[in-house]
Structures are given as structure tokens and as C-alpha cells.
Point group: C2
Amino acid sequence: MGRYENKFKTFLDEKRKIVDKKLLQALKNRKPGSLYEPGYYIIEGGGKRLRPLLLLLAVKAAGGKLNTAYNAAAAVELLHNFTLVHDDIMDNADKRRNILTIHKKYDTSTAILTGDSLLSVAYEYLLKDCNGNAKKIMGAFTKSLVEVCEGQSLDKEFELREAVTIGEYIMMIRKKTASMMEMCCTTGALIGGGDEQIVKGLANFGKNIGIAFQIQDDLLDITGNENDVGKFIGGDLVEGKKTFLFLKAMEISKGTDKDKLLEVIKNKGIKPGEIQGYKDLYQKLNVLEAAENEIKHYTNLALKSIKKLKNEKYREFFALLADSLIKRRK
Amino acid sequence: MGRYENKFKTFLDEKRKIVDKKLLQALKNRKPGSLYEPGYYIIEGGGKRLRPLLLLLAVKAAGGKLNTAYNAAAAVELLHNFTLVHDDIMDNADKRRNILTIHKKYDTSTAILTGDSLLSVAYEYLLKDCNGNAKKIMGAFTKSLVEVCEGQSLDKEFELREAVTIGEYIMMIRKKTASMMEMCCTTGALIGGGDEQIVKGLANFGKNIGIAFQIQDDLLDITGNENDVGKFIGGDLVEGKKTFLFLKAMEISKGTDKDKLLEVIKNKGIKPGEIQGYKDLYQKLNVLEAAENEIKHYTNLALKSIKKLKNEKYREFFALLADSLIKRRK
């Protein structure tokens, strides 16, 4: 893999800059300021830009040209930020990427409307790169929007339900997180002019890497560093979220350990002071290791689905991306 | 006009039923229930279905077939309901169409997500009727979504601003209300296969009738009956909204009358007990008549823009629709 590492890094750095510029242009000085300034603020706050990069990699892997896809790349990041802004209201989150969330910096009405407008501009930008295949591309984008809403609703529903299986959890994150990554790959492959096999292979890569990504996110809520992650560590436990870690712990624990976990469900979360105790319990039950194995499992599925990709360079780029996601600290 | 009245009434009644059925089908028994049941509840709550009917009339006026457009008709009503659900949170409204708003019946998180999902299903349904012209139709729909967000933001901004001109107000309602009606006509005309002149003429009808519609809405907030309108009468004054009536009153009042209006701005609204006093002031200043004249002005512009429509029957249907909107009590 070594020979592509520097090229991959350069690709990410260069394309991230172009995407950032496009994103800021999409919102800067747009009127009315009362609508677009909060959106600009959240986009300017940064982020990994993972979804646009996935889309652009898929364009290249399918044999297309990047300059036909930068608007679509901006669109998927705008869609992602729409979900963040609305989710942060629902989760009552104070911070995101180390800065105040929109509903905290402004108010809930502003945050609702900012989310809506980010979504509207997402569709506007996606349309700019729909040439000849608008129905397919808009269909993939819309399917992922539908599933993101369904996934978020299941996530909230699971917080209130007593019993959730790991199977149900995987189905939920497939919709809430993986669906959008799958769509990024599908959209990139379609814009790039890929045939059915390429589109399907890349879509499967996106879906499986998305599931791995979300379990990694659950893990970082426990093992991460607040400054790296950009938000409060242990927040999932405080919110009583049924993460992979929590459900795995429920599955294998007994006696007083299980009672301690049932307390989280009963009280719909824990106090910040109790986080360390639950971290220790997770360690004892080896659920962090179980999560790492699950992440590896889905990452391997992702890699398997691009094995037939003829373009060696971009096949390796995808493999390097998968590797970097496993190792990420934020 | 007389010869078409019964036919027009039959058209509305028949098509409204088909649209209602399509709308309920779009959300009924869809999983997860936690997401789609609140959406079903708000759609089942009824409504005039004005936007789908506008779209279907435009399909026929352009020479198209209705059975190619019922999904799109459902889509514009879903888009409309998305805006209502989110606006009701922002306006802190308790009731809509005589039933509890979603954020009152459930909670704010549910209402945010229900709005988002209604929008996602709107795009899903619109796509079903995009055949060969997806980019144009999706473009018109998305432009109207962008403008609805901009209009809503301006509306909220005007509540906080001291001075708003009637010109600014018209620009705001053009975006907040008229843009979607314009889009319904554009989309219908495109699906119906209309040429550029027909699309443009119908779009102008939608835009102007939309402006007239919103001023009529402002008027009904004062002259309406709570049971007819389905929400609290005088709510715009209580909320301190800068409606056409309020801005016209500001424009022509002097002395103590003006002071009384300035109080509304200063206090960002009035108490429910003060509504009658402001109703009397509006009467005294003749602003209700001024609003009626403005409604007639935009209705005439709407009628003028469809004069060249060759299909006499549907030209008369549009005229009857315009007439019914002027006379509406809800």
C-alpha cells in the first residue's frame, strides 16, 4: 500500500481545500443574512469533509472527472450539516467541533430554519452536477435523506425503549449514518459514469464503511479526547443512548454489572460524575474490544466490495481511507 | 363564467379525494411509526389541498394527463405541510386546522423530525412523476424550497425590526407563500408538457395568486372566525407580526393612533385582551379595505397572465379558483 500513501494524503488535502472553498462560496454573502449566516458559521467550523471526499474518490474510481462533481461534493456535506444542526437540537448538545451549536449560539427557531436551508442549498448544488442522469442521482440523494430521518427517529425511539437488540442497532445506524455514505459513493460513481457493477461495488463500500464509522464513533465517545472529538466525552451514556458498546455490555453482563446497566435505562441516562464507573465496567466486560472487532468486520466487508475495481490507484485510495477511519481519533 | 361553475366544483371535489388518498397512502403504515405517525396525523387533519389542485389544473391547462401527476400533487402538499410543522414550532402555535400542532401533541424533537421527513417524502413522490424532465422539475421544486426558507427567515427578521416597508413585505410573502404556488403551476405545466409560454403564464398566475392569497390570510386573521380558520384569531397581532394590515396602518396613521401601533413593535406583540382595540383601529384607518384592494390588484395580475391560455375550460377554471380564493373564509 505504501507507494500510494503520499499521493492519497495529497489528494485528500487538495480536494478538501477545493470543497471547503465551494462550501463557503455557497453560503457567503447570500441574502437574507439572518438565514445564511448561521449556516456559514457551522460550515466554517470545519469537519473532516469525509462525505465529499468519498464522493470525489468514487467519481475518479468510476473514471470520471472531478470538475464535474464539486457541486455534488458540496451538496453531500451540506446535507450532512443539515442533519447535525437538527440532531444537535434534539440531543440538546451544547458543542460541536469545539464551537457552540447553532441552537445554543442563536436559538431553536434559527437552528430549525438553518437546517432546512442547508438542505435546500444541498439540493440546489446537487442539481448543478446532474447532467443526463438527474432522476437517478436525485433518487439516490433523496433515498438517503428519507433513511437518515428514519434512522434518527429509531435512534430517539431506542433511547426510550428498554430492550434493543444489536441487530436492531445495526439496522438503525445503517439508516442514520451508513445510508448517506453509501449515497456519496453511488452519486460519485453515477456522476463519474460508472457501470452498474462499479456503482454497486462502491455503494457497498460506502454502506459498510459507514457502519464501521458509526461503531467507531460510539467507541470514541468513551476512548476519545474531548479536544480531538470536539464534544463532551461520555455524552452517549449521559444521554442514555443505546450504543453498540452499551448493547454489547447488556448482552454479556450478569448480576450487579447488569443491574448497573439497567439503571441507565431506568433513569434514561447517567450523571456526568458516573461516566468513569461505566468506562471501567466497559473495560471489565471487554466491550471495547468487541467494538473494535465489529469495526474490523465491516471494514473488511467494505474492502471486499471494491476488490473488483479495475483502477488500482483508486482501489488503494479507498483502502487507505478505510484504514484511516479505523485509526481516527476524531 | 356560469357554465363552468358546476364542472369546476366537481373537478375540485373529485381530485381532492384522489390527492387525499395518495397523501395518506404515502405515510400510512410506513415504518418506523415513531416517524411517520405524526406526519400522518397532520396530513389527516385536512386542509384545502390548494397547492395540489393548482398543480393538477396546470397539468390539464398544459394539455397533460392527470394520472401522470398525482404523485407530484401529493409532493407539493407534503412540502407545504413540512413548512407548516416547522413554522408552528417557531411561532409557538398551539393549533392548526382545529387540532393540536405536532410540537404540542408530541414534542419539539418529534415536530422537527416530522417536518424533515415530510420534506424527504415530498422529494420521493415528486421523483415518481419526473420522466424525462427531472432536472427542470426538481429545479423548480428546489428553488421554491430555498425561497420558502428565505421568506420564513425574513418573516421572523421583520418581527424584530422596527421599520419594514410594504415593498419589503411583498418581497417576503412572494418568497414565503407565492413561490410555492408559482412552483405548483410550473411543475404542473412541465409535467403536462406545456411550451415555454404556457409554463411562464401559469407560473405568473401562481405567483400573483400566491401574493393575493397571503394578504387574504393576513385579513382573515382579523376578520375571520376561529372555527373557520382553525386557529386563534388575532394571533398575528399577539405575535407582533408585521402583516400587510399592520404595515398599511403604520403608513397612514398619525398621532395617538401611530403611538398605539408603535406599542406593538416596542412590546413585540400585544395581549389577547387588546385585540379588539386594534381591530377597531384597523377599521378606523380603513386598512381592511386597503388590503381588499391589494388582493384584487394581484388577483387581476394573475388573471391577466393566463389570458393567452388557449384551453378555455381550464382558463375559466383558473379564474373560478382565483374568485374562490378572494371569497374564502378559511
